[in-house]
C-alpha cells in the first residue's frame, strides 16, 4: 500500500519537548501513519464522499490515534484499531452534520444520474466512480461501512466485526443486506443487473 512519510520536525519539539519515551512513541506513530494514512483517507472518502471532509476526518483520526497510542496492545491489531477510530470519527461527523446541516452536501448524493452521459464520460471521466460513490452515499451508514470494509478494504467478516464491534454472524447478515441495497442503488445509477 502506498505510504506517506510522517514529517519530522527539525530540532526539538516545542510542545512535547524531549520527554523520555517520546522517541519510541513517535517512531511507532510514524510507522502507523506511513502505513495507514492513505488507506484511511480513501476509506473515509468512500464513507463521506467528499474530499475535504475526508481530509478533516482523517486528520482527526490520526490525532486521536496519537493520543490513544498507549491503548494499542500489539502491532498485530493496529489495522482494526485505526479503522475503528476512523469509523467512529466519521460516524460522529455524519451525525453532527445531519444535525447542523440537514440539507447540506449529502443532498447531492440523492440526485438522479445524468441521463445523458457521453461515451467518453463513461469511459475516461470519473462518471463510473461518481455513480458508484453516489450509490454508496445513499446506503445506510452501517451498510456503507461494512460494504466498503469488505469490498474496498478487503477485510474478512471477522476483521469487520473487530472494527464495527459486531459478531461474525451479524457482519455476514449485515453485509448481505448491504449488497442487496447496493445492487438496487447501482441499478438506479444504470449500473449492473
Amino acid at each position: 500500500m502506498q505510504s506517506m512519510a510522517w514529517p519530522q520536525l527539525i530540532g526539538a519539539d516545542p510542545v512535547m519537548g524531549e520527554a523520555p519515551g517520546n522517541t519510541a512513541l513517535e517512531s511507532r506513530f510514524e510507522r502507523i501513519f506511513a502505513q495507514f494514512s492513505e488507506p484511511i483517507f480513501n476509506y473515509v472518502l468512500r464513507m463521506v464522499g467528499d474530499g475535504d471532509r475526508a481530509a478533516d476526518i482523517t486528520q482527526d483520526t490520526f490525532i486521536k490515534a496519537y493520543r490513544k497510542l498507549d491503548t494499542l496492545a500489539d502491532d498485530a491489531s493496529t489495522r482494526s484499531w485505526i479503522y475503528r477510530i476512523a469509523t467512529n470519527t466519521a460516524i460522529d461527523d455524519m451525525r453532527r452534520r445531519r444535525y447542523v446541516t440537514p440539507m447540506g452536501d449529502d443532498e447531492r448524493h440523492n440526485r438522479r444520474p445524468d441521463p445523458r452521459p457521453g461515451p467518453e464520460a463513461q469511459v475516461l471521466d470519473a462518471s463510473i466512480d461518481e455513480r458508484i460513490q453516489r450509490a454508496l452515499g445513499r446506503l445506510r451508514p452501517n451498510h456503507r461501512q461494512c460494504l466498503v470494509l469488505s469490498d474496498v478494504e478487503d477485510m474478512s467478516a471477522t476483521q469487520i466485526g473487530e472494527v464495527m464491534g459486531m459478531s461474525h454472524g451479524a457482519v455476514r447478515t449485515l453485509l448481505c443486506r448491504a449488497r442487496g441495497e447496493m445492487r438496487r442503488e447501482l441499478l438506479q445509477e444504470g449500473i449492473g443487473s
Binding site: Q59, D60, I63, G104, G118
Partner: protein, 536 residues
C-alpha cells in the same frame, strides 16, 4: 442436501470472500446449479465487489501530514467547515500550519521520495493551506492534477496480482508508488500484460493483456484518474501486429486486430477518445498498424503496412477533427512505398526504422519474413534510402535472416532499440542475435553490433528457469530501458510472475528490479515512461 426455504442470499454474499464452511459451500453450489435467480444474484454481487475494489484511490492530501502534526502540537482537532469561522484561516493555527509546511519543505528538498515530498512545496487545494496560497496573487486556474503524481520522465508500470482466479491489475508510478487499480471490463479475467502505451497527456493507458489459455490478447484502454476501463478488441498477437500507439495529439489509439482464430486476416483499428468508440479503419485483410507520423495540415497520418510477398506501406490520412473515417483511407490515393514494412517513425518525424525482405504467411504468426528480413534505418526525406541497422549480420545464402522482431524509438528521436529478434539464419556466434537481447543504438552513433546489447542482469529466475523477454520501453532521453522479463510458469494455474528491470543503456548503473524486487511474486510490466508532453 437440505433445500433452502428461500434464496440463500447470505451464503452468496459470504461466498465472495470465501467465508463459508464446507457444508455451506456444498449446499450453495447445489442450489446454484438449479436456481438461475441466485446465479444472477451471485453475478451481480461479484460485479459489485469488483467495481468497488476498482474504484480510484485518491492520493493523500499533500498537507495532511503537516495538519496532523499541527493538530498534535496544538492539541486541536480539525474544525469542520460548517463550524469554521470565516476568519479562522488567518488565525494562529493556519500560521502554525504554514510554519510546519515551511519546515517540511526544507526536509523534503532533497528529492521526491514520495508524494509528500512535493506536497509542502506547492499550494494545496485544501482549505487550511489555501491560506498560504492566498498570500500569493495566483488566481490563474490550473488544469486537473496529473494522475499518480506523474512527472515527465517517470516510469509507470502495470502490475498483475492476486490468485489466478481473481487477478487484479494495478498501474503504479515507480517513483512515488502512487497507484490506481483498474476495473475489469468484465469480458474475461486479466492475465499477463504484454504491451502498454501512455497517452501524451498522461491520463489514459492503453494496454494489451493475455486472455489466459486461449493465447489471444485483449486491447484495453484505462483512465489513470479513476481506473475505469474499456475493452476495445480481442486480437491474435501475430508477429507484426503487436504495436499499440497513441496519435501525436493523443486523440486516437491505433492497433492491429488479427482474427482470434488465427486464420490469417488482420486490419488496423482506431479508438477515438472523443467519441469513446473504436472502429475498424482498414478492410484489406492483411493490414498492420505501423506507426503514427506527425500531423500534417490538420490531418492525422499513420503508416499502415500490407503483408504480401513483396510488402508495401501506405500513409493513411484523415482530418483530425472528423473522427475515425468510415471509408477506408487506403482505398483512395494514399502514398504507397514498395519494399517497406512496418515503418516506425521517430517522434520528430525525421527518421524511420523499418523492415525489408520477402514475406510469407504463417497461420500462427501472420505475415513474417521468409527471406532476407532485415531492419533498416532511413531519413524521412521521401527516398527511403536504407541503411541496415546491424553492421555484423548478413543474410544467409538461402535468404536466412530475421523472420520478425520488434523496434522501439525513444522520444529523443535519436535512440532506438531492436529486440525480440526472431533470427532464422545461422547464429552469428553464441546466441547472436539473441531473442532475449535488447540492441540499443543511436542515429547519431552508427550501426548496431553484438556489442550494442546492454547487460540486462541475471536472466535466470530463482527456480533456475531462463527468463524470457516480453517488452522493452525506452525512456524519453534514451538513457534507460524498462525491460519486462517473464518467468516461465510451472503450470497453467500458477500465478504469472515477471521482473520489470530498469537497465541503463550505457551501463552507468547495474540493472535494477522495479516493483517486485529480486524475487517477484507477481507480474510487473510492461513499463511506460511519462513523455515530456505531460503537463505541457
Amino acid at each position: 442436501m437440505r433445500p433452502f426455504d428461500s434464496h440463500p442470499d447470505e451464503l452468496i454474499s459470504a461466498s465472495l470472500t470465501g467465508d463459508l464452511t464446507d457444508l455451506e459451500r456444498r449446499e450453495l453450489e447445489a442450489h446454484l446449479s438449479s436456481c438461475p435467480e441466485c446465479r444472477d444474484t451471485l453475478e451481480a454481487f461479484s460485479q459489485q465487489r469488483q467495481m468497488l475494489a476498482g474504484m480510484r484511490q485518491s492520493p493523500l492530501p499533500r498537507d495532511l501530514a503537516a495538519r496532523v502534526r499541527t493538530g498534535i502540537e496544538s492539541r486541536r482537532f480539525a474544525m469542520p467547515w460548517y463550524r469554521r469561522p470565516s476568519g479562522w484561516l488567518t488565525g494562529v493555527a493556519s500560521v502554525a500550519t504554514v510554519a510546519v509546511a515551511a519546515l517540511l519543505t526544507v526536509v523534503f528538498l532533497n528529492g521526491r521520495g514520495n508524494p509528500t515530498a512535493q506536497a509542502s512545496a506547492s499550494p494545496s487545494p485544501s482549505p487550511t493551506v489555501s491560506a498560504a496560497a492566498s498570500a500569493s496573487p495566483s488566481p490563474v486556474p490550473t488544469a486537473a492534477p496529473l494522475p499518480l503524481n506523474m512527472q515527465a520522465g517517470d516510469l509507470l508500470y502495470v502490475q498483475l496480482t492476486g490468485p489466478i482466479d481473481d487477478p487484479k491489475l494495478t498501474v503504479i508510478e515507480a517513483q512515488s508508488a502512487a497507484k490506481v487499480g483498474l476495473a475489469n471490463p468484465g469480458t474475461g479475467q486479466y492475465s499477463e500484460t504484454k504491451r502498454a502505451a501512455l497517452s501524451p497527456d498522461g491520463r489514459a493507458l492503453a494496454f494489451a493483456t493475455e486472455t489466459g489459455a486461449k493465447g489471444s490478447w485483449r486491447i484495453v484502454v484505462a483512465s489513470l484518474a479513476n481506473g475505469a476501463t474499456k475493452q476495445l478488441a480481442e486480437t491474435w498477437p501475430v508477429a507484426f501486429g503487436r504495436r499499440i500507439a497513441w496519435s501525436p495529439d493523443g486523440r486516437y489509439l491505433a492497433f492491429t486486430v488479427a482474427s482470434v482464430e488465427a486464420n490469417g486476416t488482420s486490419d488496423v483499428w482506431l479508438y477515438d477518445r472523443t467519441s469513446g468508440s473504436a472502429r475498424q479503419l482498414t478492410h484489406a485483410g492483411n493490414a498492420y498498424f505501423a506507426s503514427w507520423a506527425p500531423q500534417n495540415a490538420g490531418n492525422e497520418q499513420l503508416w499502415v503496412s500490407l503483408g504480401e510477398a513483396n510488402p508495401v506501406s501506405q500513409l493513411a490520412q484523415f482530418p483530425t477533427a472528423a473522427g475515425i473515417p468510415s471509408d477506408d483511407p487506403l482505398a483512395g490515393e494514399a502514398t504507397t512505398v514498395a519494399g517497406v514494412f512496418a515503418p516506425l517513425v521517430s517522434r520528430d518525424g525525421q527518421h524511420a526504422l523499418y523492415w525489408t525482405g520477402t514475406m510469407s504467411h504463417d497461420g500462427t504468426n501472420g505475415w513474417i519474413f521468409s527471406k532476407g528480413g532485415m531492419p533498416q534505418l532511413t531519413p524521412m526525406d521521401g527516398n527511403w534510402k536504407a541503411t541496415p541497422l546491424f553492421s555484423d549480420l548478413t543474410v544467409g545464402q538461402g535468404g536466412e535472416a530475421f523472420a520478425s522482431g520488434e523496434l522501439s524509438w525513444a522520444d529523443d528521436s535519436d535512440t532506438y532499440a531492436v529486440w525480440g529478434a526472431n533470427w532464422a539464419g545461422t547464429p552469428e556466434g553464441n546466441d547472436y542475435p539473441d531473442s532475449n537481447g535488447v540492441y540499443v543504438g543511436r542515429v547519431s552513433n552508427g550501426q548496431l553490433s553484438r556489442t550494442s546489447a546492454p547487460d540486462l542482469g541475471t536472466m535466470t529466475a530463482s527456480s533456475g528457469d531462463a527468463l524470457y523477454l516480453v517488452d522493452v520501453a525506452l525512456s524519453p532521453d534514451g538513457s534507460t530501458a524498462a525491460v519486462t522479463l517473464g518467468i516461465p510458469l510451472p503450470g497453467d494455474l500458477a500465478t504469472p510472475k515477471s521482473y520489470l528491470r530498469a537497465v541503463t543503456v550505457n551501463g552507468d548503473h547495474p540493472p535494477a528490479d522495479v516493483g517486485g524486487g529480486a524475487n517477484p511474486q507477481q507480474w510487473s510490466g510492461p513499463g511506460v515512461f511519462v513523455p515530456a508532453s505531460v503537463g505541457g
